[in-house]
Point group: C2
Chain length 294, copies 2
């Protein structure tokens, strides 16, 4: 049974508490894989080299990092550096860890034409080096996990022309969770979970089933939309969106903290290899024949 | 039988020809591990962030990168980026490759007091993040090699306090060669090999035996001293110092190009595990009992 942890790359994410907690769980015999973000580090390096980060805004209001040829260099170097730091910190906590900023873990297709709004006008951006994830190097990940090692994966993919591509960390974690038939995906960031009112932490939605995702999407704004998309793509027994800024954030998430998105038993049974099914902890009440949205 | 290739990080090193050549050899069934340098990329990134590279000069005239806290950040990011680029290029040539900029492949001890000359006076530098290699994560490397993968290793080590340390790429390659009982170590850079006269490419020394190293050290200046130290540490059947700026540089090196430093049969037989011994291609004429210098 494999668990995937995504640790956000935003400012204010407390790595130390997360990594200590992760190390304790790994040492107790659990198998984990860590995926990290890199946004804050990429922004800082971009600032240092005098080429500040820019944002693309789609006509639908989605925003993403504008990753031109120079930015992908900056982004990649920052991703590598964050990967090294997390690898070293996990090692310091006694974990047999392998840093993978490859970019040979994730395969992606470059987005060659992105619709965006610039100066109030719609344009097509053709020089962006971001990608849509198309595959995961599961051979490598299984080889390392089977040898008792904990992979740490950066959000950097290889394109079809072997170019480096910026890919979303939450979706990397989700794709790895799906391809490794992970039981649990925990996405930690600097928010408590999905909130009915983004300004009111007390409005946290504690749990819902994956087939109700469309309903709950109405509460998501900004980065949270991507996390819900990740929950949909992960195909895990449970996806937990939780807060990294607390003590023992993984334990707290597993004990019911944050927002739990629970898969139906049906979905899990239809998993191609059937792996993970028998070990499912949660068995949400579902009527047979009931489908799962998306 | 494992072969180690060190590809220099200096300006003017032709990666494309080397990587194509390496890919062909791996696809023919040979097992290789690639170690790369990062000096030119680190210098360029340092320039870009407005914190240009500085040099330490020892009283003995050795020079090295002055790696203070800010420089190790720059150096690490650059090492990660070079690692990604080489990994992508090898993948583009059809190799099942794994980029390792960890820093969990190499363990080192930080040099906490370096004697250096500054403004004509001898000083002790205590804020340097460079290290002396103390160990190699052979478990990880064997796991990957046994799975048919080609590791690409950056010259970045983890210190005893889990800090990132700048380590010499030639010595990384040598230590890996020794710990994996490699048959051959090829060190490619932008020089033809060891020259009797550094300004005269025709003065190339084609071959000598490792026990004669002290004699040949008198011809080495600058970076070449480090390459000879690497040859000494590698304990391989042959170490080849050769030119990367030619067509099929690996084939040319193996066919006799560059400077070949040949171990005595005696040394190989005294290898603790005995691995690599039976497959030794070269059996230089040596009188029994003849020792090996250093």
């Amino acid at each position: 049974m494999i668990h995937i942890l995504k640790l956000g790359g935003g400012a204010g994410v407390d790595h130390a508490a997360v990594l200590e907690n992760l190390a304790v769980r790994i040492q107790s015999g659990e198998r984990w894989l860590l995926v990290h973000g890199t946004s804050d580090a990429a922004n800082r390096l971009a600032e240092q080299v005098g080429y500040p980060a820019q944002t693309l805004t789609t006509p639908g209001g989605h925003t993403s990092r504008y990753t031109d040829a120079r930015t992908i260099e900056i982004y990649s170097a920052a991703a590598g550096s964050v990967n090294q730091q997390l690898t070293a910190q996990l090692a310091a906590n006694g974990v047999n860890v392998v840093g993978l900023a490859g970019p040979n873990v994730i395969h992606a297709r470059r987005k060659t034409a992105i619709r965006a709004i610039r100066d109030g006008r719609q344009v097509i951006v053709r020089d962006d080096y971001s990608g849509t994830i198309t595959g995961i190097n599961t051979d490598l990940l299984h080889t390392l996990l089977d040898a008792g090692m904990t992979p740490v994966v950066a959000p950097l993919a290889m394109g079809e022309e072997y170019e480096r591509l910026n890919v979303d960390g939450d979706l990397v974690a989700a794709n790895i969770a799906r391809e490794l038939h992970a039981d649990t995906l925990i996405i930690l960031s600097n928010v408590p979970g999905l909130l009915r009112d983004v300004n009111e932490p007390q409005s946290l939605i504690p749990q819902f089933e994956l087939h109700d995702l469309e309903h709950y999407e109405t509460y998501a704004a900004g980065r949270m939309k991507k996390k819900l998309l990740a929950a949909q793509q992960a195909n895990a027994a449970r996806v937990i969106l939780a807060d990294s800024r607390i003590k023992r954030p993984i334990d707290m998430a597993l004990a019911g903290g944050g927002t739990h998105i629970i898969a139906s038993t049906l979905t899990l049974n239809s998993s191609p290899s059937g792996r993970g099914t028998s070990e499912t902890v949660f068995a949400p009440l579902l009527h047979e024949g009931e489908g799962v949205g998306g």
